[in-house]
């Protein structure tokens, strides 16, 4: 066969992506049976990950200082982000979180609307039940009486319901006596854990039949009772103004009544924190069972009870509804409002606070992200520098058989490694930083006589999230340099001598 044989007219252009359009390219491709090279053994064997990792690490070792500085930049960026987010989480935990962990979100206050047709209850109307229009005034308002309370406690998700009642009476022991507000709580209710939590000594009354009373430490002290457990079992007298049933010709008639009661226990509202207010403990210093209240005929100084007495119908001003979980709240609330009552839940007020915290979190997140973005620009810069330096090397690798994708993987991995190492170190820095801030702040708080708190909180999801985020983002930063490296033309790269 003549090795110099020429086959005229055999010109190829198919698949030449970079071939400039010239006249000779327009000659059609020769019809030719498929041969071995057309059916290459797909898929090709590819470079394995360990070799790519090895090459990447070698390159990083070679320019150790540069890679260290870039990685350190990422460390600072991630660290900043973690600290900023920790501040956000810390604030959230110290405000809304602290409130949410209490019973606030399982409580609902129900108002009887009898006297609030225009002005609404003192807490302001719930947004969900706007005040009815003036023309609606004639409509019969349901009374908040025992029947309605029973109806409410039968609703799904409701744990218990009790009317918020109190009356004024005089407490007397030896020569000390003073007027005070007394809270009435039904005996079954005080078995709830929140009441036991607030006890300093003794116990709550076990049944409505007991003639016993629970005092706050402050009231006990005022009465001259011994401190702590020694006060339990002592007796005090309760002086009340009992109203005579019905109306006499002179109007309402009252009669003073003295009842000797046993001190069953001492409580401190501080012990149950914010829940105290909603459980009725924060309201006054004296608690009696509803049975005892009925026996002493405690006169409640309110228009509600006055009208109740006059009309002979019992109508409580307020009632507390407790649900099992915060999720039950809105359904129960809807049902109660259907009955014609106005409700108030603390979450109404906290909704705003939550929005403010989300805004604060976003601002902190943005500040932290800026540091991370700057460090990512550092990655892009380092990678581009590296490519510039290694152009010839990339050309060599391509000439000896590296695929574009191999080159891309090598650079991609280097960017990922920077992100991985920087991310870990950054999380460490952020965690240590927030620990340090906590320590310093707590020292100051304790010096001022406060209780230590976690000012900055770094939960595990933040640690994990920051890690994943830094790797993902640094891989993104590596995309452009890696693609650029892969596109290097080996012929041009090898001409650099």
């Amino acid at each position: 066969m003549d090795p110099f044989r020429v086959r005229p007219g055999v010109l190829a252009f198919r698949g030449w992506r970079r071939a400039p359009p010239t006249a000779i390219n327009k000659v059609p491709f020769e019809d030719r049976p498929a041969t071995a090279l057309d059916s290459y053994p797909y898929p090709f064997k590819a470079m394995n990950f360990r070799d790519i990792l090895r090459l990447g690490l070698q390159n990083m070792q070679r320019r150790a200082l540069r890679f260290f500085l870039t990685t350190f930049g990422v460390t600072i960026g991630v660290g900043m982000l973690v600290i900023m987010m920790s501040v956000g989480v810390g604030i959230q935990r110290n405000t809304v979180g602290r409130l949410e962990s209490t019973d606030l979100f399982t409580s609902l206050t129900v108002f009887s609307d009898v006297f609030s047709r225009r002005g609404g209850p003192i807490f302001g109307p719930s947004r969900r039940s706007p005040m009815p229009p003036a023309g609606d005034a004639q409509k019969e308002r349901p009374a908040l009486d025992d029947a309605v309370l029973a109806q409410m406690s039968a609703l799904a998700g409701v744990r218990y319901v009790y009317p918020q009642r109190n009356f004024t009476a005089q407490l007397k022991r030896d020569k000390t006596s003073f007027e005070t507000m007394i809270t009435i709580l039904p005996a079954p209710i005080v078995r709830e854990p929140v009441y036991a939590q607030s006890l300093e000594a003794g116990a709550f009354f076990a049944s409505d039949a007991e003639d016993s009373i629970v005092l706050s430490e402050f009231v006990a002290q005022r009465l001259g009772l011994p401190a702590g457990a020694a006060a339990v079992g002592q007796t005090v007298s309760l002086l009340t103004l009992a109203s005579m049933p019905g109306l006499s010709p002179e109007g309402l008639s009252f009669q003073q009544k003295e009842t000797i009661v046993r001190v069953a226990g001492l409580f401190s509202p501080r012990r149950s924190g914010v829940s105290a207010g909603l459980s009725g403990l924060g309201f006054s210093g004296v608690i009696v069972s509803s049975g005892l209240a009925d026996r002493v005929g405690g006169f409640q100084l309110s228009l509600n009870s006055l009208f109740g007495m006059l009309s002979g119908k019992k109508n409580y001003g307020l009632a507390t509804v407790r649900v099992h979980t915060p999720r039950d709240l809105s359904a129960v609330r809807k049902e109660i409002e259907k009955l014609g009552f106005t409700t108030f839940a603390i979450s109404d007020a906290l909704g705003r606070l939550k929005i403010v915290l989300v805004i604060l979190d976003s601002i902190l997140g943005i500040i932290g992200s800026i540091a991370l973005v700057v460090s990512l620009l550092g990655i892009v810069n380092t990678m581009l520098m590296s490519i510039l330096e290694r152009t010839r090397e990339i050309g060599i690798m391509k000439a000896i058989g590296a695929e574009d994708w191999d080159i891309q993987k090598i650079f991609f991995l280097e960017a990922g490694l920077i992100g991985f190492i920087g991310g870990w170190a950054g999380v460490g820095l952020g965690w240590t930083g927030s620990r340090l801030v906590n320590w310093i702040v707590n020292r100051l708080i304790v010096q001022q006589g406060g209780d230590p708190t976690q000012v900055l909180a770094t939960p595990w999801w933040l640690v994990l999230g920051a890690m994943v985020f830094s790797i993902v983002v640094s891989l993104l930063a590596g995309i452009y340099p890696a693609r650029r490296a892969a596109r290097i033309d080996p012929v041009i790269a090898l001409r650099h001598d």
Partner: protein
């Protein structure tokens, strides 16, 4: 299958291969309708002055570049339709390239340089090391496995490059002025190895050089390139 392919015809064919470069408004014909064939086991010298298109031709045969017109065929199959991935496979498996300035990776040891093409082919580390060691030992570099290129002499570096070119057992070696940076003693040493490879193992070789004397002494066939055309 290999024997079958070999019996079918030439290993490499160049059919009216043309390469144009655009320099500003001027079009330069680096190669102008070059046609020839290389058979299995040949040792061909491509001769020409600098700028005659020798290196361009070698880059086209090695799949580093694509012709503007015409067709390069390897074992009867055109390289033209191949995508970059398949072309990389061609560079890796079918051809071994040797350059004037060695083109070794300076930060890697001789052993790692030789093993690199095998890494691109997905060979495990042990197998790569073993073959690289054997190749280097055969080229007389058994004692310099762990030296980096800057610690080696020019002749040694070129022998490392030759070992690297042979790593994936290619069908053809393409040497682009391999003696250009070497003194005459080293040049003869390198060319002697080429000749031995060709005579003993039947290695197909394409040697680009501008030195007629070397070409005459070692190669068995010559292709003269003048201004991108084959001069008869």
């Amino acid at each position: 299958m290999q024997d079958e392919l070999e019996s079918q015809g030439p290993l490499i064919e160049c059919l009216e291969v043309t390469k144009l470069y655009r320099m500003g408004n001027e079009t330069i014909h680096a190669l102008d309708r070059v046609s020839f064939a290389v058979n299995q086991g040949e040792f061909i010298a491509i001769l020409g002055t600098s700028g005659s298109g020798k290196s361009t031709l070698l880059n086209l045969l090695g799949g580093l570049d694509r012709p503007t017109g015409g067709e390069v065929r390897f074992r009867q199959a055109s390289l033209a339709p191949l995508r970059s991935k398949a072309l990389a496979h061609h560079r890796r498996k079918n051809v071994g390239m040797i350059f004037q300035s060695f083109h070794l990776i300076p930060t890697m040891t001789a052993l790692d340089n030789v093993a690199l093409p095998m890494a691109f082919d997905g060979l495990p580390l042990d197998a790569r090391r073993a073959r690289a060691e054997a190749l280097l030992a055969r080229l007389g570099l058994g004692g310099r496995l762990h030296h980096r290129p800057p610690e080696l002499s020019g002749g040694e570096q070129q022998r490392v490059a030759m070992a690297r070119a042979l790593a994936n057992n290619p069908a053809v070696l393409l040497a682009d002025e391999p003696t250009g940076n070497l003194d005459s003693a080293r040049s003869h040493e390198i060319l002697q190895i080429f000749k031995e490879m060709n005579e003993q193992s039947g290695q197909t070789l394409l040697l680009v050089t501008h030195d007629l004397e070397y070409a005459r002494r070692y190669a068995r066939r010559f292709i003269h390139l003048v201004d991108g055309k084959i001069a008869v």
